[in-house]
Amino acid sequence: MSHPIIEFRQVEYQISSISPQPILSGISLEIHRGETIALLGRSGSGKTTLLKLINGLRRVSSGAVLVEERDIRHWDIIRLRRGIGYVIQETGLFPHLTVRENVCLIPELEKWPAERISSRYAEVLQSVGLSPALYSQRFPRELSGGQRQRVGVARALAADPEILLMDEPFGALDPVTRAELQREFLTLRQNLAKTVVFVTHDVREALLLGTRIILLDSGHIIAEGTAQEFVKLDHPVAREFLAAAELSTGALP
C-alpha cells in the first residue's frame, strides 16, 4: 500500500501541562489518498481538535502529525495550509468580501494569472451547483445558509488542494438542504478524488459520506471501520450512536 497522506503517530494534545485530562491521547491513525474519513463523536470528544492538528491550528503536545510523510513541524505552515482546503460551519466566509472575492482569495494571494483565477472561479462554483455569474457580486449576508455552505466548499477547493478538512460542514443547515448538500457532496467526491477528513456528530452523515468512520470518545479513538463494519460494532458508545439514530445491523441508510 502507498504511504499515508496524513499520519498521526502517538499523538497527545493538552491545553496546558497542569490540566488533569488531555483533550486527545494515544492517537495513531493513517489516512490514505482518496479516503473520506468521518470523525464521529459527541461534543467534547476531541474530534474538532483532531482535525485542527492536521492544518496546524493546534500543535501536538507529544507525538507527531505527518502530512505527505513530513512532520508538520517541518512544513512551512503557510504552504501546508494552502495545500489543504478548510471548510467550517457557515461563519467562516468573510462578510466584507463578495462570493467571488471569498472564493478567489487564496489563488489571488498565490498570484495566479487573472485568466486562470477567472476560469477556476467558474469551475469551482459550477462544481458546487451555483451560477458563477449570478453570485459573483453577492455578499455572504445575501445568501441562504445552504448557498453560504456551497460557497465555503468552493472556496476550499479553489486552490485545488489535495486534502479537504471539513468541520461539521452541514451542521447549521435545515434537514432538507442538508440532505441535498450531502448527496451533492457524494457526487463531488467521486469527481474530485480528494482526501477528505470531516467532523460530524451525526452518525447518519458519517455512514453516508465516510469511506471510513473513526469514533472518538473522551480523546481516544475507540472504534473505526467502514459503514458496513461500523453498524456491526459491539462497542457501547457505537451502539449508543446507532441507537440514537435508530439504525441497527443491516439497516444502512
Binding site: 492544518n55 504552504r79 461563519t91 468573510f94 462578510p95 482569495l105
Partner: protein
C-alpha cells in the same frame, strides 16, 4: 444688541473665525488619524505596548484642556504661542478615541472568521490588512467621529494661546460680559460639531459590514 444682529454685523469676522477653526480641526484630525490608526494596528499583537499606549492616551485626555495648552507654551519646538501649539494639543486630545476604537475594532472580529483565515493559509499580515482592518473600519470611523466632535469643542480654547478660531468670540464675550458675542462663537462651533457628527456618522454606517 442680540446675538443674531451681532453675527450679521460682524458676518465676515465670524466667517473668517469659522474658517480658522475648521482649518485647526481638519489639520489636527488628519494628524491624529495618521498617528492613531497605525498605532492601533501596531499594538494589537503586543499586550505590553498596548497597555502603555492606551494608558498614556487616557492620561493625556484627563488633563484639563486649558492646562494642556498652558503646559505646551514653554516647550521648545512644539510649544510657543499660536496655531502650531494648538494643533499639538488638539492632536493629543483626539488620539485616544481614535487609538482605542482602532484597537477595539481590530480585536472584536469574530474569532471563527480569524481562524478560518488562518486555516486557509493567510499570513498574520494578510489577516491584519485584508480581514481585520476592513472589518474594523466602521469602529475606526466611529472613533474619528467622536474625536472630531471633541476637537471642535476643545479648539475653541485654542484662542487662549493665540491660535484664533471661534474661541476668539467666546473669550471676548466673556471679557465683555456679552452673551451676544459669546454666542457668535458658540453657535457656529455647535453647528460645526453637529455637522461633523452627522456626516461622519453616515460614513460610519456605510462602512459597517453586517
Amino acid at each position: 444688541m442680540n446675538s443674531l444682529e451681532f453675527m450679521v454685523s460682524h458676518g465676515s469676522e465670524v466667517l473668517a473665525a469659522t474658517r480658522e477653526h475648521l482649518i485647526l480641526v481638519v489639520i489636527s484630525m488628519a494628524i491624529a488619524s495618521v498617528l492613531g490608526v497605525p498605532l492601533g494596528l501596531a499594538i494589537v499583537g503586543h499586550p505590553r505596548s498596548r497597555a502603555v499606549a492606551l494608558a498614556v492616551a487616557s492620561v493625556l485626555q484627563t488633563i484639563p484642556s486649558l492646562a494642556l495648552f498652558g503646559f505646551l507654551i514653554p516647550l521648545p519646538l512644539i510649544g510657543g504661542i499660536g496655531t502650531h501649539t494648538a494643533i499639538v494639543a488638539l492632536v493629543l486630545y483626539a488620539l485616544l478615541p481614535i487609538l482605542r476604537n482602532t484597537y477595539v475594532g481590530l480585536t472584536s472580529v469574530d474569532p471563527a472568521i480569524l481562524e478560518a483565515a488562518e486555516g486557509m493559509g493567510m499570513t498574520e499580515r494578510q489577516i491584519l490588512f485584508r480581514v481585520r482592518l476592513p472589518l474594523a473600519s466602521s469602529f475606526i470611523m466611529a472613533g474619528i467621529r467622536t474625536a472630531a466632535v471633541i476637537t471642535i469643542g476643545v479648539a475653541t480654547i485654542a484662542a487662549a494661546i493665540g491660535a484664533g478660531g471661534l474661541g476668539t468670540f467666546i473669550f471676548r464675550g466673556v471679557a465683555m460680559v456679552s452673551d451676544a458675542v459669546i454666542l457668535a462663537g458658540a453657535i457656529p462651533a455647535a453647528i460645526l460639531a453637529l455637522l461633523a457628527d452627522f456626516l461622519l456618522g453616515r460614513l460610519e454606517r456605510r462602512l459597517r459590514v453586517s
